[in-house]
């Protein structure tokens, strides 16, 4: 039955956003990443990245861990199992969508 559904059904509103998809693409490659590394890779501002991370954290797709290193606060981000799964499903849905029109 599921094979007859349009691939767009598989898209997740939380994940289907360019910056959030980028965050999950990075986090599924490594165990964890600092906010500074995410910022550098994605070219986002602090505020913008913070908002995207909060959306993902509220959905249970990432965990945020704030630590103090020396005199500076550092935030480490890691993808949860649900986040990694949502990312894989999103990529699968996008590929299916493209395959459908090719």
């Amino acid at each position: 039955m599921t094979s007859t559904l349009h691939p767009v059904v598989g898209l997740d509103d939380v994940v289907h956003q360019r910056a959030r998809l980028g965050i999950l693409a990075i986090l599924t490659e490594v165990a964890e990443a600092d906010v500074a590394a995410l910022k550098a890779e994605l070219g986002l501002t602090d505020g913008n990245l913070g908002r995207h991370l909060q959306v993902l954290a509220d959905a249970g797709f990432v965990t945020l861990e704030r630590t103090i290193v020396g005199t500076r606060a550092k935030t480490r981000v890691r993808a949860t199992k649900a986040g990694a799964k949502a990312f894989r499903n999103e990529v699968k849905a996008l590929r299916a969508l493209l395959d459908r029109v090719r």
Partner: protein, 248 residues
């Protein structure tokens, strides 16, 4: 409209792949463990060749007159009465400690931490099994699979795990090649008494050091090449400049 949407989806997939590839390149730290494993193998030469007679400070001998480290020969990498076993048991923890330090430094520098714990766990776990079996072999068992689980195999298993974690085929295949050498060397060490004598000495024993050294040299070269490749990839990685829109 549909065409626009498809183009956007295709662009998004390309962007995702690029983020992944750049992240892997930036987080890659496998070249140093490769180099360290190669240097550890090259460093075994003085022990195999008899240039190193074991720890200085006089012979602390067992009741039968052999030095205390003599029984460590049971780690299965040959060497007879030479301190080869002692060398291997000492060098493997040093290699893993140096790798752990390197990973911590690399994570601080890049802000990306790989699942390096698996590499350390696999390698040190294999080394632990090798030590337990070697002790069991001396204490209770006339024969045990201790000859297969050698400290050299511990280096190989660690490299294979590291290659899988970093999704780096060069590191994985180098680890697999070292595993083949480790199994071959332990087989040579175990069965050397069945091999013919060349007149200058036992063929099996004579092949041990060259096998380890040639493989070690190969690993050092592969490690150096991996460093150059990793540096080039990091330099080539371009960070996107246009920030995506704030979410609705």
């Amino acid at each position: 409209m549909q065409s626009d949407s498809m183009t956007q989806s295709a662009d998004l997939l390309i962007e995702i792949d690029e983020h992944g590839a750049r992240t892997r390149a930036r987080a890659a730290a496998g070249w140093l463990p490769l180099l360290l494993a190669g240097l550890a193998m090259l460093g075994a030469f003085p022990a195999y060749a008899g240039w190193w007679d074991g720890p200085a400070g006089g012979c602390i001998c067992t009741s039968d007159g052999a030095p205390w480290w003599d029984r460590l020969g049971v780690v299965g990498l040959g060497g007879g009465s030479r301190p080869v076993g002692l060398y291997w048991l000492a060098v493997v923890p040093v290699v893993y400690a140096a790798s752990a330090g390197w990973f911590a430094m690399s994570a601080r520098r890049t802000g990306l931490r790989q699942r390096w714990g698996l590499h350390l766990l696999a390698g040190l776990g294999t080394a632990g099994v090798a030590v337990v079996l070697a002790v069991a072999r001396v204490a209770w068992l006339p024969w045990s699979p201790g000859a297969l689980f050698t400290p050299l195999l511990a280096l190989a298993v660690g490299l294979v795990a590291l290659g899988l974690v970093e999704r780096d085929r060069v590191v994985t295949s180098s680890g697999a090649a070292v595993a083949v050498v480790a199994v071959a060397v332990s087989a040579l060490a175990r069965h050397s008494s069945h091999l013919p004598d060349s007149g200058l000495g036992n063929v099996g024993q004579a092949l041990l050091a060259p096998s380890v050294e040639v493989a070690g040299l190969g690993l050092v070269l592969v490690g150096a090449a991996a460093y150059v490749r990793s540096a080039n990839k990091r330099t080539a990685s371009v960070t996107p400049t246009a920030p995506p829109a704030v979410p609705a």
